[in-house]
């Protein structure tokens, strides 16, 4: 089966891609899928994560994945194939970069598949070093962000049997913004929430998942607390935004809104996609000082 990538691959257009690949019973539509990249003209960082997650989902189901692209790749940095090549997407899925001169851009990290077991070390060394260098700020000043992302990996560990996350990030210096997209291809957050509250739709389940202390005593024991902490740090403290799509549910949290919004989408997302947009102008240098604890 041939699947043509959308002209622009963004969070909004990913549904047509997912629908072409995944059937209503949540199975791949064919044993072999040929992804045609030739019409792709733009891709967001979250698109890199979505594509990677989809490929991982298909690989897990022993689907043969083929990539079709134009042999001549322009060196224009706006070319999405060049962007994917520089993000190491093709290296991961074909074993080599398309161009010999492909290199990870200063404004991005390479696409990574991070296991839970390696996640702390990866966050501490790779991602935080890149963010510290990119924002010209000490790693110590980024502790809140590091622990936030730790909450996501703990959430993956709680909700996804795979314990693995696809992650990609980009810095937009002109917009004072860093976008970080993480996705797992597990069973999704709503499935686990419904073990406790079976009547909830996927969207309602995501809304429940970010309530503080929805439950801390079931297995997984951290439902709600980790995602609540994530929302609090990203939206309230950093004034950034957060988007979660898990199965059919969508959750949007934007700074300035007193409430988050959740909804149900017709298209199924295979796992959980989390996009975080951090404002860099609200991240300040913190001196390394201990603080005395008081109850």
């Amino acid at each position: 089966m041939k699947v043509t990538l959308p002209y622009r691959l963004t969070r909004e257009t990913m549904y047509q891609l997912l629908e072409r690949v995944i059937d209503r019973d949540l199975f791949p539509k064919d044993k072999e899928i040929d992804f045609d990249f030739t019409s792709l003209s733009f891709i967001e960082p979250v698109g890199v994560t979505i594509l990677s997650n989809l490929f991982e989902w298909l690989k897990k189901r022993d689907i043969r994945v083929i990539i079709t692209y134009q042999s001549s790749i322009s060196n224009d940095k706006w070319n999405p194939i060049k962007y994917l090549d520089d993000s190491m997407f093709f290296k991961r899925y074909t074993g080599r970069t398309l161009n010999d001169d492909a290199r990870v851009r200063d404004t991005t990290i390479p696409l990574e598949i991070v296991t839970y077991a390696n996640s702390y070390q990866w966050l501490d060394s790779s991602l935080m070093n890149w963010l510290s260098r990119t924002l010209n700020i000490t790693k110590n000043s980024l502790t809140d962000i590091k622990m936030c992302l730790g909450e996501i990996f703990n959430n993956i560990n709680d909700h996804a049997q795979e314990n693995t996350g696809c992650i990609f990030a980009q810095h937009y210096p002109a917009n004072n913004k860093v976008s970080i997209a993480i996705s797992d291809f597990g069973v999704g957050i709503p499935n686990n929430i419904r073990k406790i509250n079976p009547s909830l739709s996927d969207g309602e389940a995501l809304g429940k998942a970010i309530e503080e202390g929805f439950t801390t005593k079931t297995n997984p024991r951290n439902l709600g607390v980790g995602l609540h902490t994530l929302v609090k740090n990203v939206v309230e403290h950093n004034k950034g935004s957060l988007f979660i799509h898990s199965n059919y549910g969508i959750l949007n949290c934007i700074s300035g809104d007193t409430n988050y919004t959740f909804s149900n989408e017709d298209s199924f997302y295979p796992g959980t996609l989390i996009e975080i947009n951090l404002r860099t102008d609200t991240i300040f240098e913190i001196e390394e000082v201990e603080e005395e604890f008081e109850w």
Partner: protein
């Protein structure tokens, strides 16, 4: 008085498993009527998973007043302190509002 330097027992304060190791040491000390000082020297931050297991689950065994009187935290940071305080605040209030009836 027992001093627990967390990095002597776990590599980081990240997972439920990390928390479970620290929790068992605290429970042992409190059960022996000893005060506990927990040192976060070298730790830059903690996740809610760690705090839930290491500290919040102590509420299953001990009153909050006993924990406050006998557990101290040193060499901590703003992120660590905020996480501990906010998790205890929420859980203690939640437990106060629980109503149990015999069915």
């Amino acid at each position: 008085m027992v001093t627990i330097n967390v990095l002597d027992h776990v590599e980081h304060c990240y997972s439920n498993q990390d928390g479970a190791i620290i929790k068992s040491i605290i429970i042992r000390a409190l059960s022996n009527n000893e005060c506990v000082t927990i040192s976060f020297r070298g730790v830059d931050g903690v996740t809610s998973s760690f705090v839930n297991t290491a500290l919040i689950e102590l509420l299953d065994n001990f009153d909050f007043d006993l924990i406050k009187a006998n557990v101290k935290f040193v060499n901590s940071s703003k992120q660590i302190n905020n996480m501990i305080r906010s998790r205890f605040r929420f859980e203690v209030n939640r437990r106060k509002n629980l109503v149990k009836v015999l069915a």
